[in-house]
């Protein structure tokens, strides 16, 4: 597979060749914002806030749009909240403000003079269209603006790629804690399986960068691989992070027994729960990134088996799960079916107090 990425933003970040066994990315600085890919047809989109401000509009027209958009947000009330725990008006108004920040250059306060013009990164027609999609189709806000703020990063996301969740931010802290006490792990090769937008790989890549460690990030989805590559390059981590397309451990055959660490936030929602998900999630995010099979454990168990094979002695792993039940089941599995493979198993809670992660070491 060959992918070509170009971007208009931070051209100095794009000078090097990213080389891997299954993925080659050529970067041409100073090009237009068009991102072309050959031959998979996967085209990473440029997030709204990075698009060139080539549109201009009268402030009063922007104000008109804003009033309309606010009205639409208020008409929602708490109907989404009650139907599927979706956003209510106040959350939507907050998103509206963020949309303005991304779309309008130098986020104008709408209070100033009406006859002025503002520079925009989208035209008015598209702005109407975007907000209609947000409210009427429940298109996730992050897909509307093409990015998500995650830890210190702003990651590009688009349809076909899971929007990284705040809970997952903690996995980077686990890794950072472990490598701060172990130079050997800091220098080693890590893997992020099912990398999606590349969030975990980028967070961990940043932690490892100073010690010379690297991350191999894999995903089955070519869209995810393309978007992750785009994000990796935006943060100039292409020397530390290598992307490989394929199913779980398949692209990692060369790393057997050699991984210093392994992290994953695999799909873990039980299949029967998919239909009841919040519309933003269930209708818009890729099923392959959510559906974990009958009990949601398919990928997690597979990852456990693989971890025993791929990690070197003393290697660290962290998995995100659906909650307490899966954490317990995973630990049971590791103790009973893989006894002798792992040690120092721990269940960690997320910031809402839900037991969310299983972490531990290879014997």
């Amino acid at each position: 597979m060959k992918l070509t990425l170009t971007s208009v933003y931070r051209p100095h970040c794009f000078p090097t060749l990213l080389n891997s066994s299954s993925f080659i990315s050529l970067c041409r600085p100073f090009c237009t914002s068009a991102l072309s890919s050959v031959p998979t047809g996967v085209k990473p989109q440029v997030p709204l806030f990075l698009r060139p401000p080539i549109y201009s509009t009268k402030l009063c027209d922007l104000k008109k749009w804003h009033d309309w958009a606010k009205g639409l947000a208020f008409s929602v009330g708490s109907t989404f909240l009650h139907s599927d725990n979706g956003p209510d008006s106040s959350l939507l108004c907050r998103e509206l403000k963020w949309l303005m920040e991304d779309a309008v250059v130098g986020h104008h306060s709408l209070g100033v003079k009406d006859d002025g013009r503002v520079e925009m990164r989208v035209d008015m027609e598209e702005l109407y269209c975007l907000w209609r999609q947000r409210i009427l189709e429940r298109r996730p806000f992050q897909y509307v603006v093409g990015c998500e703020h995650w830890r210190d990063f702003v990651l590009s996301v688009q349809e076909g790629v899971l929007i990284p969740r705040p809970e997952t931010e903690l996995v980077v802290d686990f890794v950072s804690g472990v490598v701060s006490e172990n130079e050997d792990l800091k220098k080693g090769a890590w893997a992020d399986l099912g990398t999606g937008s590349g969030a975990l790989a980028i967070g961990i890549g940043g932690v490892l960068a100073s010690g010379g460690g690297r991350v191999i990030a894999t995903d089955l989805s070519p869209v995810a691989v393309a978007v992750a590559a785009y994000n990796v390059q935006r943060y100039c981590l292409q020397d530390n992070i290598e992307l490989r397309e394929g199913s779980w451990f398949e692209p990692l055959k060369d790393m057997e027994g050699r991984l210093a660490g392994l992290v994953s936030n695999p799909p873990y929602i039980p299949s029967k729960d998919i239909s009841g998900l919040q519309a933003e999630v269930g209708r818009h995010e890729p099923r392959v990134s959510l559906d974990g099979g009958i009990d949601g454990m398919d990928a997690l168990l597979h990852l456990c088996d693989g971890a025993a094979l791929m990690l070197k002695p003393g290697g660290f792993f962290a998995f995100e799960t659906n909650g307490k039940q899966q954490c317990r089941a995973l630990v049971d599995y590791m103790e009973n079916n893989r006894s002798g493979s792992f040690c120092n198993l721990e269940i960690r809670a997320d910031f809402a107090g839900i037991q969310r992660f299983v972490i531990g070491f290879h014997q």
Binding site: F141, D152, R165, Q278, E285, F351
Partner: protein
């Protein structure tokens, strides 16, 4: 819904295979923002109401006009590391309705941290990422504690701590030359000096001339330090008001 979080100082992974421990997250926070800009408003800002989406910087302190006295022997809270400080805190994040994780797409990124020993509360919700809101809330908490939490000072044996000497002008007669250049309100270390200065002020019951004596300064020079920082001035004036004294202007 409130949840209590206790933070482990270090990531200790020393459990036996057949015993799985459950522990809460280890976090490290980065100080990426100067600590004071959010304190520059003249009134304490209240928590956001659900309908108020415009005001994205919110702080509240549970003890706005009174100060909490804490045993003088205790290690100053402001000196604690981020992790140590978080261990003493309770944190509310997004409402834990539903299972979270992959199930959920909601941008409720407000973070509220309550420091249990003092009851001081700081909140941050201006950023789009939870991560940054948590870090800013902790920074705010630190500054609020510096402003609100008083240590008792023994005036008989008083000698100003180094962090206080550092915010004094070089002309102070008790400030040695080894203190380095004067630290101003824009320096994050100012909070420590400010806390020690407020401790002294409380001990002398708000009298600028008394405090100035202990610091080897003229009354005018000390007033200038107090007026150089809005939050410090406000705190001193709150104290003076409670003693029936005129505010410094």
């Amino acid at each position: 819904m409130a949840h209590m979080f206790l933070f482990k100082p270090t990531l200790s992974l020393s459990l036996r295979l057949n015993k799985t421990s459950i522990s809460l997250p280890h976090r490290s926070f980065r100080h990426s923002h100067p600590p004071f800009p959010f304190l520059s408003s003249t009134h304490p800002i209240s928590l956001p109401s659900a309908s108020d989406s415009n005001n994205r910087t919110h702080i509240r302190c549970s003890s706005n006009h009174t100060s909490t006295a804490v045993e003088g022997s205790e290690k100053s809270f402001v000196h604690l590391t981020d992790v140590e400080l978080m261990r003493q805190c309770e944190m509310d994040t997004f409402k834990a309705s539903g299972p979270g994780g992959q199930h959920r797409n909601k941008r409720e990124s407000a973070v509220r941290i309550k420091h249990l020993p003092t009851g001081v509360i700081a909140q941050a919700s201006e950023d789009r990422s939870q991560h940054k809101n948590r870090a800013s809330a902790l920074n705010r908490l630190r500054s609020l504690i510096a402003l609100k939490v008083r240590k008792t000072v023994d005036l008989e044996a008083y000698s100003p701590p180094r962090e206080l000497l550092q915010i004094l002008p070089p002309k102070s007669s008790i400030r040695g030359s080894d203190c380095g250049p004067q630290i101003g309100p824009n320096n994050p270390k100012f909070a420590l000096g400010m806390q020690a200065l407020l401790d002294l002020f409380f001990a002398v019951e708000g009298s600028v001339s008394e405090a100035a004596k202990y610091l080897g300064l003229s009354t005018g020079a000390l007033s200038r330090i107090i007026l150089s920082d809005d939050s410090l001035r406000k705190e001193v004036n709150n104290l003076r008001a409670s003693k029936g004294m005129k505010p410094l202007k």
